[in-house]
C-alpha cells in the first residue's frame, strides 16, 4: 500500500541516463539494410519498372507486391491500404519496391539505377479540391466516411444572435526523436520482428494479413512515438519481413529524418465550420458544426479520428440543439494518422476559439461566457449522454482562473501582452465500441520467487508505463516495486491488452491490472510482510498448477453507446482541464512568446506525480509547437520542409515555466497522455486576441501571419 501518489524513480532511468539502453538501431546487427523505393508522382498508374543493364543487381534483394504470400492489405479499418503498390500509386512516396543489401551506399546507388515510369492521373492535393470533387479518387465522391449526429429541438432563431466562423488546423509531425526503425531477424526459416512501436498486436495482425501466419513481434525500447508509431510500424514490419524472408538474412530499416518527415503519418488537417446561436448574455442555444477532415491517400485511422473530433467539438457545453455533420476525405497526399489527441486538439481549438469569439462580440469576458455555459446536472453531451464528470468541470475551471489570476490580468491592458484560456476535456480509452472491440486482456504470472510478472502488450515509449503499471500492481499487492517484472512485450508471450494509445494505459489497462492483482490477493492467504508473502506464494503454487491470473475488459454497464446511431456516451471516463496562456508579441519582429502557462487538470487519481507532470509539460510543449512554430509546407503533394532545420519545434528557450497542478478526486485514474495536447493552441490564440485584438482562426500563428494581420 501507499505507492500510489508517490513519485517513484523510473525503472529505466539509469539505463537511459548512462546511454546503455539499446534502441532498435543500437542492437547487434550483421545483416542487410533495407530501402524503400517510392512513387515520384501523386496519382497515377505504374507503366513500367526498368533496371539499368549496366548496373549489377545480382547481390541485391528486390521485393515487389508479388512477393506477398498473403494479402497485400494493411488491415486497419477500411482495408484500403496496400503494403506495396501494385499498379496504382496514390501519393508521392508510396512504396513500390523494397531493396536490401549489406551496404547502405550500394542501396542508394541501386536506387538511382531503377527507372519507374507512370501514366499520371489528375491528383487531388487539397481538402477543398477533394470536397469539390475536382476528380474522383476514392469511392463515388472522395468521402471516406460520413458521420452526422444531432440532438434536441431547434430554438427560435429570430430572438438570438448568430456567429458564423470557420477554424482550421493543419498537418503536424510527431517528431519522435528516434526515427522509425524495424529489424527482421532470420533464423531457421522463421522471421522475428523487433522494433520501435506502440502496438505489437497491430503489427502481428498486419503480418498475419501479409503472410497468413502469426509472426513473433517484439517491441524494442522506443524513443518516442506520440501516435506516429501506432499504425506505421505495421508497414515497417512488412517491409523488413518481406526482405528478410526473401534474402534469408536479418534485415533492418531505419528511416533518416528527412524520409520520416516526408512520408510517414501526420495529424489530420481539419476544417471546422461553426454556426452558433446565443442570447445576449452569451448562453448558447444552438450549435451547428460541420467538420471536414483530410485523410490523405488511404483511410487508415481516419474514421476514428473523425469520431473523436465530433465527440469533442462542442467541448462540455450543452444547449438545446446541437447538430454536427462530418466528412473525411481522400487526397493524394501521404496518409494521415494518429498524433497525441487524435482529433481532440483540432476540435478543442475550434470550440474554445469560438467561445471566445462569441464573448468578444457580446463584450463579455471569456470567464463569463464559459461560466454561463458550464454543464449542469441536466446537461447531456453532443451525442446525448449524461456525463458523470460534468459536475467537476466547475472546480477545475475555478482553480485555473484563481491560480493564474486570469480575470484580473485580462483587464490589465498591457501593451502587446495578453492572457487567454481554454476549458476542455479528453475522453479516455477507445471511442465508442472500441474498448469492447479490443477485448483487452491482462495476465499476471506469479513466480516461485514471489515476483509477479506483468504480461501485457502495453509499451513503454517515454510516458512511463514501465514504471507506473508495476507501481499500480505493487501497490495493490503491498509489495516493493522491485518484485514486479515487466519486460518489453513480445506477442508470443503476453496477453493482448490492446494498443498503447488513446490515453488508455493507466485508465483501462491499469484498472485491469488492479482487478487481476486483487485476484492474486484473494487467492493467497493473508500476509503481513515479504517473508510471509513468499511463504503464501509457495503454498499457493504448490497447490495450484496455474501461476497465471487474468482479467478481461468489460464495459461498465452504465456507459451506453450505440455505434450505428452514433449515440450515447463515447468514453468510459473523461479527464478535465483548464489551461491558461500568457503571451507577449514583439512589436519589432511580430514573434509571439508564451511567457507563462498554467496547466490545471483533474484526472482522478495521479499515480506518479513526477511522471504525470512530465506528461503535462511535454504535451503543453507540443501544443505550443502546434500553435506557433510547426508548419508542414506541402507543395504539389510533397512536403517541402522535411529537414529539421525547417520543420521547427520549440526548444528550451522558447518555452515558459509551466505551472502544473492536479485536482485529485476520484478513486479511479483517468487518461493523461493526450489531454495536455488539446488546449495550448486555443489558449494561446485567445491570449493573442486579448493582446493585439486580432482573431486567429488558423494555426500555426507565425510571425509572418501576425505581421500580415497587424497591417
Amino acid at each position: 500500500m501507499g505507492l500510489i501518489g508517490k513519485s517513484l524513480k523510473r525503472v529505466d532511468a539509469s539505463s537511459k541516463a548512462d546511454g546503455s539502453l539499446k534502441y532498435t538501431d543500437d542492437l547487434e546487427f550483421n545483416g542487410r539494410h533495407g530501402l524503400v523505393v517510392r512513387s515520384q508522382i501523386a496519382y497515377g498508374k505504374i507503366t513500367s519498372i526498368k533496371y539499368e543493364d549496366k548496373f549489377d543487381f545480382s547481390d541485391f534483394t528486390i521485393v515487389d507486391y508479388r512477393d506477398i504470400d498473403g494479402e497485400n492489405v494493411n488491415p486497419i479499418l477500411m482495408d484500403d491500404q496496400p503494403f506495396l503498390a501494385q499498379n496504382i500509386v496514390r501519393f508521392i512516396g508510396e512504396p513500390i519496391l523494397l531493396l536490401a543489401h549489406k551496404s547502405k551506399k550500394a542501396l542508394n546507388e541501386a536506387q538511382q539505377n531503377i527507372y519507374i515510369e507512370y501514366e499520371e492521373f489528375e491528383a487531388i492535393l487539397t481538402l477543398e479540391d477533394s470536397q469539390d470533387v475536382k476528380n474522383v479518387i476514392f469511392g463515388d465522391d472522395n468521402v471516406y466516411k460520413t458521420i452526422n449526429t444531432q440532438k434536441g429541438e431547434e430554438p427560435n432563431y429570430s430572438e438570438l444572435n448568430v456567429l458564423e466562423k470557420t477554424y482550421y488546423t493543419p498537418h503536424q509531425e510527431q517528431l519522435y526523436l528516434e526515427p522509425q526503425s524495424m529489424i527482421a531477424r532470420y533464423s531457421n526459416e522463421k522471421v522475428k520482428i523487433i522494433g520501435s512501436m506502440q502496438c505489437p498486436f497491430y503489427v502481428e495482425s498486419a503480418l498475419e494479413s501479409l503472410t497468413g501466419q502469426k509472426i513473433e513481434i517484439e517491441q524494442a525500447p522506443t524513443g518516442g512515438a506520440f501516435g506516429g508509431k501506432e499504425d506505421y510500424p505495421s508497414l515497417m514490419a512488412a517491409y523488413v519481413y518481406l526482405l528478410s524472408k526473401k534474402s534469408k538474412q536479418d534485415v533492418k530499416i531505419v528511416y533518416d529524418r528527412v524520409e520520416d518527415i516526408a512520408f510517414t503519418t501526420k495529424r489530420h488537417p481539419t476544417k471546422m465550420k461553426f454556426k452558433s446561436h446565443f442570447d445576449s448574455y452569451g448562453k448558447l442555444h444552438s450549435l451547428n458544426i460541420d467538420i471536414s477532415i483530410d485523410g490523405g491517400a488511404y483511410s487508415t485511422l481516419t474514421p476514428v479520428v473523425q469520431a473523436r473530433t465530433i465527440l469533442h467539438i462542442a467541448g462540455f457545453y450543452d444547449c438545446e440543439f446541437i447538430k454536427v455533420t462530418s466528412n473525411s476525405y481522400a487526397t493524394n497526399t501521404p496518409p494521415n494518422g494518429a498524433f497525441r489527441g487524435f482529433g481532440a486538439p483540432q476540435a478543442i481549438f475550434a470550440i474554445e476559439r469560438h467561445m471566445d469569439d462569441i464573448a468578444r462580440r457580446l463584450d463579455v469576458s471569456p470567464s463569463k461566457i464559459r461560466e454561463i455555459n458550464l454543464p449542469t446536472a441536466d446537461s447531456t453531451s453532443v451525442t446525448n449522454a449524461k456525463i458523470d464528470e460534468y459536475k467537476r468541470v466547475k472546480n477545475i475551471f475555478n482553480l485555473a482562473r484563481e491560480k493564474s489570476d486570469f480575470d484580473k490580468k485580462r483587464l490589465d491592458k498591457r501593451q502587446n501582452r495578453g492572457i487567454g484560456m481554454a476549458l476542455f476535456m479528453h475522453g479516455g480509452g477507445f471511442t465508442g465500441i472500441g474498448e469492447t472491440f479490443l477485448d483487452s486482456e491482462v495476465w499476471l504470472d506469479l513466480h516461485k520467487s514471489g515476483e509477479v510478472e506483468i504480461k501485457i502488450s502495453s509499451v513503454e515509449m517515454g510516458q512511463g508505463a514501465l514504471t507506473v503499471l508495476p507501481q499500480i500492481v505493487a501497490d495493490t499487492l503491498n509489495l516493493p516495486l522491485s518484485m514486479i517484472i515487466y519486460k518489453n512485450p513480445n506477442t508470443f508471450n503476453v496477453a493482448n491488452s490492446g494498443p498503447t494509445v488513446a490515453s488508455r494505459t493507466v485508465m483501462i489497462v491499469g484498472e485491469l491490472l488492479i482487478q487481476t492483482a486483487k485476484k492474486i490477493l484473494n487467492a493467497l492467504d493473508k500476509y503481513e510482510n515479504i517473508q510471509e508473502y513468499k511463504e503464501v506464494v509457495s503454498k499457493y503454487l504448490n497447490a495450484n498448477s496455474s501461476k497465471r491470473f487474468t482479467s478481461k475488459y468489460k464495459k461498465p454497464s452504465y456507459i451506453k453507446w450505440d455505434e450505428d446511431k452514433f449515440y450515447g456516451n463515447g468514453y468510459d471516463g473523461y479527464s478535465l482541464a483548464c489551461y491558461i496562456a500568457e503571451v507577449e508579441v514583439d512589436p519589432i519582429t511580430y514573434q509571439v512568446k508564451v511567457t507563462d502557462f498554467y496547466a490545471y487538470q483533474d484526472v482522478g487519481k495521479v499515480i506518479n506525480p513526477t511522471l504525470a507532470q512530465g506528461q503535462v509539460e511535454g504535451g503543453v510543449a507540443q501544443g505550443i509547437g502546434f500553435a506557433l512554430y510547426e508548419r508542414v509546407v506541402m507543395e504539389s503533394g510533397k512536403i517541402k520542409n522535411s529537414h529539421l532545420t525547417d520543420y521547427v519545434i520549440p526548444m528550451a528557450s522558447d518555452l515558459p515555466k509551466i505551472e502544473v497542478g492536479f485536482i485529485q478526486s476520484d478513486e479511479k485514474a483517468k487518461g493523461l497522455g493526450e489531454l495536455p495536447m488539446n488546449a495550448p493552441a486555443a489558449a494561446i490564440a485567445n491570449a493573442l486576441a486579448n493582446a493585439i485584438d486580432v482573431e486567429f482562426d488558423t494555426i500555426p500563428i507565425t510571425p509572418e501571419i501576425v505581421e500580415q494581420r497587424c497591417r
Binding site: 519589432i588 509546407v633 517541402k640 521547427v648 520549440p650 526548444m651
Partner: protein, 266 residues
C-alpha cells in the same frame, strides 16, 4: 571519394592547386549536408592546421585565424571588449555544438546568403588575407564576396581576418523562426563609426553585402520613413521562400532599422 589531409600550410596550398574542384574543409558544419546532396567531389581537410586557429590583439587591430571557431570568438575577451558586434553575432550562431566546429573562414567561404558572420564582418570593414603558392594578398571582405555563393578566389586559401579597433556604436539582431538554432530569416548588422554608418544583413540578397543606399541616406542629415523604405528597397531583394515572406522581411528590417537608430541616438 578522395580525402586529403593538409599537413601544413604549404601542403594545403599544393593540395588546393592540384584539386581546384575539391571542397576545402575549414570546420565541417556544412559538409555533411553537401555530401548528402552529392555536391562534393573530393575533400581537402584543413582542420588539422592549428596554426590557423588564433585570436591576436595588437595595438590597432584584432587578427583572427581562418580556423578559429565561432565559440572561440564568442569566449574571447578582446573581441567582447573591442569588437562586440562579432560576439553578439557569434551568440546567435547555430548551436553550442556547431559553434565548436564551425570556423569563421568556413562561414565566410561558403558565402551563403544566410551566413551569419559575413554581415558583421562587412560593417567592421574587415580585411581578409588570402594565400596561394604565388603569394599573399589582403583585401576587404566586401571585395571577396561577389555573388551567390561565389568568391573572387584564385586557387587561394583564406588564412586570416583583420579588424581595426575603432570607436564604434553597434547594433546586431538576427530573426529566426524560434529563439535559438535558426537559419536567419533576416539579420541586421549596423555600425556607427566617426559619424558614418556601415550597414549589412543576412538573408536579404543572393549574397551578403553592404546596404550602400541606406548608408548614403543615413550619413546625410535629413531623411523620412519614406526615404528609408526607398533606400532599403534598393539595397535588398529578399526572396519569398517557404522560410519567410518578402513582406515580413521588409517590414521587420524597417522596424529593426528604427530600433537601431533609436539605440544610436541614446
Amino acid at each position: 571519394m578522395k580525402y586529403l589531409i593538409a599537413k601544413n600550410l604549404d601542403d594545403a596550398l599544393t593540395l588546393r592547386e592540384e584539386n581546384p574542384n575539391f571542397t576545402l574543409l575549414f570546420g565541417a558544419s556544412d559538409i555533411a549536408l553537401k555530401m548528402k546532396n552529392n555536391q562534393v567531389s573530393g575533400v581537402v581537410d584543413l582542420t588539422h592546421l592549428d596554426e590557423l586557429s588564433y585570436i591576436r590583439k595588437n595595438e590597432n587591430s584584432i587578427k583572427i585565424g581562418a580556423l578559429t571557431t565561432i565559440n572561440a570568438i564568442l569566449q574571447n575577451r578582446d573581441i567582447t571588449q573591442f569588437i562586440p558586434i562579432l560576439s553578439e553575432a557569434s551568440k546567435e550562431f547555430a548551436s553550442h555544438q556547431i559553434r565548436n566546429i564551425a570556423s569563421l573562414a568556413g562561414n565566410v567561404a561558403n558565402a551563403s546568403p544566410v551566413a551569419d558572420m559575413i554581415a558583421p564582418l562587412l560593417v567592421l570593414n574587415a580585411k581578409v588575407t588570402l594565400l596561394s603558392s604565388k603569394g599573399e594578398r589582403t583585401i576587404f571582405l566586401s571585395d571577396l564576396i561577389i555573388g551567390f555563393k561565389s568568391l573572387d578566389l584564385n586557387n587561394e586559401i583564406i588564412t586570416s581576418f583583420e579588424i581595426e579597433i575603432q570607436k564604434r556604436q553597434h547594433y546586431y539582431r538576427k530573426v529566426g523562426p524560434r529563439a535559438k538554432l535558426n537559419i536567419a530569416k533576416l539579420s541586421l548588422a549596423m555600425v556607427k563609426q566617426d559619424e558614418r554608418y556601415f550597414i549589412s544583413g543576412a538573408s536579404l540578397n543572393p549574397y551578403v553585402k553592404r546596404f550602400t543606399n541606406l548608408e548614403e541616406l543615413l550619413n546625410g542629415k535629413n531623411y523620412s520613413d519614406v526615404d528609408i523604405k526607398e533606400a532599403m528597397d534598393k539595397d535588398i531583394s529578399p526572396s519569398g521562400s517557404f522560410r519567410s515572406t518578402k513582406e515580413y522581411r521588409r517590414k521587420v528590417l524597417f522596424n529593426m532599422l528604427g530600433e537601431a537608430l533609436g539605440k544610436f541616438a541614446i
